[in-house]
């Protein structure tokens, strides 16, 4: 099978090289799609239309399929994320130990729902299916740092710091 011609990246941005390198590693085969989207999201933070079109052309697969895959998997973000990310775990252990109250509190103080970002682009709110930190339920992740045995008050304090902080 002949490899498709190498497509030029949409912009001069050097970060495209990382994405291209991932596709090259997999011989520009269609099965490289998910790995490629992971690497694009890692360097750009999210996947915009331009990225999806570039990946589709490079791997010679229909844009519709690329879009289908990008929207199917929960971890792929099609919109830019906030400066900070707050992830509330809604695993079973966290759920029965009060995670719903934490989520309500977070939604109250940020004014956004899960999956959204505050208008000032400071905070993105996500929920997790299970972080595997069930021993310390309920758990909340602030920018990658897991806080175990969380309660609405401590979580609110943390968030208010983020929200009042000038960018």
């Amino acid at each position: 099978m002949q490899a498709p011609p190498v497509i030029a990246p949409p912009t001069e941005d050097k970060r495209w090289r990382i994405v291209a390198a991932m596709m090259r590693k997999h011989g520009f085969k269609p099965q490289a799609l998910i790995e490629t989207l992971h690497s694009a999201q890692e360097v750009f933070g999210y996947l915009d239309d331009e990225t999806l079109r570039y990946v589709a052309q490079s791997l010679a697969i229909p844009s519709s399929r690329v879009y289908g895959v990008a929207t199917f998997y929960n971890l792929f973000m099609l919109k830019p994320q906030g400066v900070h990310t707050c992830v509330v775990c809604l695993g079973t252990a966290c759920y029965i130990k009060g995670a719903p109250d934490i989520l309500t509190a977070v939604e109250g103080v940020t004014g956004i729902h899960k999956g959204e970002t505050t208008p000032d682009k400071q905070v993105s709110l996500l929920v997790a299916r299970c972080l595997g930190t069930c021993g310390l339920a309920p758990a909340v992740v602030f920018d990658g740092e897991v806080e175990g045995k969380a309660d609405p008050d401590t979580v609110m304090t943390h968030l208010k710091e983020w929200l009042t902080h000038e960018p």
Binding site: I34, H38, F72, L75, K97, G132, C134
Partner: protein, 548 residues
């Protein structure tokens, strides 16, 4: 690489470690990490440096010891003194105590039932080997079994040994591992694949993550043996992207194994070759289903397809494919090392060996446990788990994740195995075990799981896509106190229909949490519907709600 080379490596590692008078191993599992274990390491390091003791005492990150509730846990070798709840401020006292009396107030009692009632096969190294060094695994006998298998056993003998041991798939379905291997071995194809299913998606389950993070080499050895037995030359670890440390450790393990000559072409000068790669999931629960997982590795949307043909005959890119769960593969090496008879002696007649459970929820000793199959739920929850804290009353234990069910108090004395739990309307599942007390509302729990299945349904088949949404709607209605008995009848009908007609395990299992809670806690449903009250006080039923 032969046995002598292996022993030389082990010896070298042993000598290197023996240079240190003391070795402190700090648990860096996720739970301990969020209890500041990283800061404990830093504090210990700087304290040692300040005293000029870096050459006498080594500090390093270790794996999960199991008792997450008491983290961070640290172990001082030699002597295996275990401490719990260590804070960075304790570093000076800890270093003072080296070689002397242990610190009483921090001691973790390893003679309590939590530790003594466990039987560790998969987790046999207790998180004490270095997960980032192949020679640390080799020192405890790693890869010896593989070398013996490769040079002294035929693939058929390996399959027979696994089949005779009675090992069953630890992903939840409990299919005989030996039979599965046999089918793949007999299947005809120019190329065969092995896949390790590390897409541990059940909420409340973190056994496989621990195995991948703490024992990546053990898992790799299991993959090697499996690939040799079925005749596969390529393989994949399919790991959730939510487990970055597991991915990092496995990647590192593959590199080191390639360097040591355990992966690649003509391994150890035989005709056996194996190439292993890692593929990341991207947050889709359904990808734990084997045909969906295969689609995902192929770069597609992770939707399942009807079986047969089973992956054993037509799997990845249409080739015969062996898919085993992480814990299943981690059992392979000890079985072949100690023999099938040894494995047969653990567990009960229907289910052999041990099972790793993630014990969490309203239980004293939350964490990771490994117990022989056939232990009763009462022993697990009240002896190993230490019972329900805060003087609350036990209500149920949930197993099997979103396809499982809740087991009430009157069945606590049943022996836990694949069949006994199935008779109670639940599954052993991948091993999540969540204890609930009187503060949990069973209708709310059923609603929680239905919400999970509804959002994780891939949308391919109608019964699951539409059925889970309809059932969720009815459960919401019940928890709001707005439902009638007709709604309940409709819910029960839908459960039967979705179970019977869905394409894959996600849809077929989705009604289970509802059916099992209806079976054991029907009165709670009736309380919501007829009396318009939530006995546990969880659901906010409108006319009863008191505004603060």
């Amino acid at each position: 690489m032969n046995l002598e080379d292996l022993h030389a490596l082990a010896e070298q590692y042993h000598r290197e470690q023996a240079q240190y008078e003391h070795r402190i191993v700090v648990c860096m599992g996720t739970a301990c990490q969020s209890a500041q274990s990283e800061q404990v390491i830093t504090a210990l390091d700087s304290e040692l440096k300040a005293r000029g003791l870096e050459k006498q005492c080594a500090v390093r990150a270790g794996g999960c010891r199991g008792l997450c509730a008491a983290g961070p846990l640290i172990t001082v070798e030699p002597g295996q003194t275990t401490y719990q709840g260590v804070k960075p401020d304790d570093a000076p006292a800890l270093i003072d105590s080296l070689g002397g009396e242990p610190i009483e107030r921090l001691l973790c009692d390893t003679t309590m039932p939590f530790f003594t009632r466990q039987k560790r096969v998969v987790l046999e190294y207790n998180g004490l080997i270095d997960a980032e060094r192949i020679d640390s695994y080799i020192e405890v006998g790693g890869f010896e079994t593989f070398l013996n298998v490769l040079t002294q056993m035929t693939p058929n003998e390996v399959i027979n040994a696994i089949q005779r041991s009675g090992l069953r798939g630890r992903g939840g379905a409990g299919y005989s591992t030996g039979l599965k291997w046999n089918t793949v071995a007999k299947a005809v194809g120019p190329r065969k694949y092995v896949i390790c299913n590390g897409d541990e998606g059940d909420p409340g389950a973190f056994m496989d993550r621990s195995v991948m993070e703490d024992y990546p080499y053990r898992l790799l050895e299991g993959m090697l043996i499996a690939a040799y037995a079925v005749g596969a030359s390529e393989g994949y670890f399919y790991v959730r992207a939510e487990y970055p440390l597991a991915v990092k450790r496995l990647r590192h393990a593959i590199k080191q194994a390639e360097k040591a000559g355990f992966l690649g072409n003509n391994i150890c000068d035989t005709s056996f070759s194996l190439k292993l790669e890692i593929r990341l999931g991207a947050g889709a629960f359904v990808c734990g289903e084997e045909t969906a997982l295969i689609a995902s590795i192929e770069g597609k949307r992770g939707t399942p397809r009807p079986r047969p043909p089973y992956p054993a005959e037509s799997g990845l890119w249409g080739s015969p494919t062996l898919i085993n769960n992480v814990e299943t593969l981690a059992n392979v090496t000890p079985i072949l090392r100690e023999g099938s008879d040894w494995y047969l002696s653990i567990g009960n007649e229907r289910s052999r060996g041990t099972k790793v459970f993630a014990l969490s929820g309203r239980v004293q000793n939350t964490g990771l446990i490994e117990v022989p199959m056939g232990m009763t739920l009462r022993e697990i929850v009240f002896e190993v788990g230490g019972g329900v804290p805060d003087g609350k009353r036990f209500k149920a234990v949930q197993t099997g994740g979103p396809s499982g069910g809740c087991i009430p108090e009157q069945y606590l004395d049943i022996a836990v195995d694949y069949e006994s739990l199935r008779q109670l309307g639940t599954y052993i599942g991948s091993g999540g075990m969540i204890v609930m007390d009187e503060t949990s509302c069973m209708v709310d729990v059923a609603k929680y799981f239905m919400d999970f299945c509804m959002s994780e349904s891939c949308g391919k088949c109608v019964p699951c896509r539409v059925g889970t949404a309809q059932m969720h709607g009815l459960l919401v209605k019940i928890t709001r106190g707005e439902a009638t008995l007709d709604d309940l009848a409709l819910l029960e009908d839908l459960c039967e229909m979705v179970k019977a007609t869905s394409l894959c395990g996600l849809g077929q299992g989705a009604p289970n949490p509802v059916q099992s809670t209806l079976r054991h806690f029907r009165d709670e449903y009736l309380a919501h519907i007829v009396d318009k009250t939530c006995p546990a006080g969880v659901c906010k039923i409108h006319h009863r709600e008191v505004t603060p």
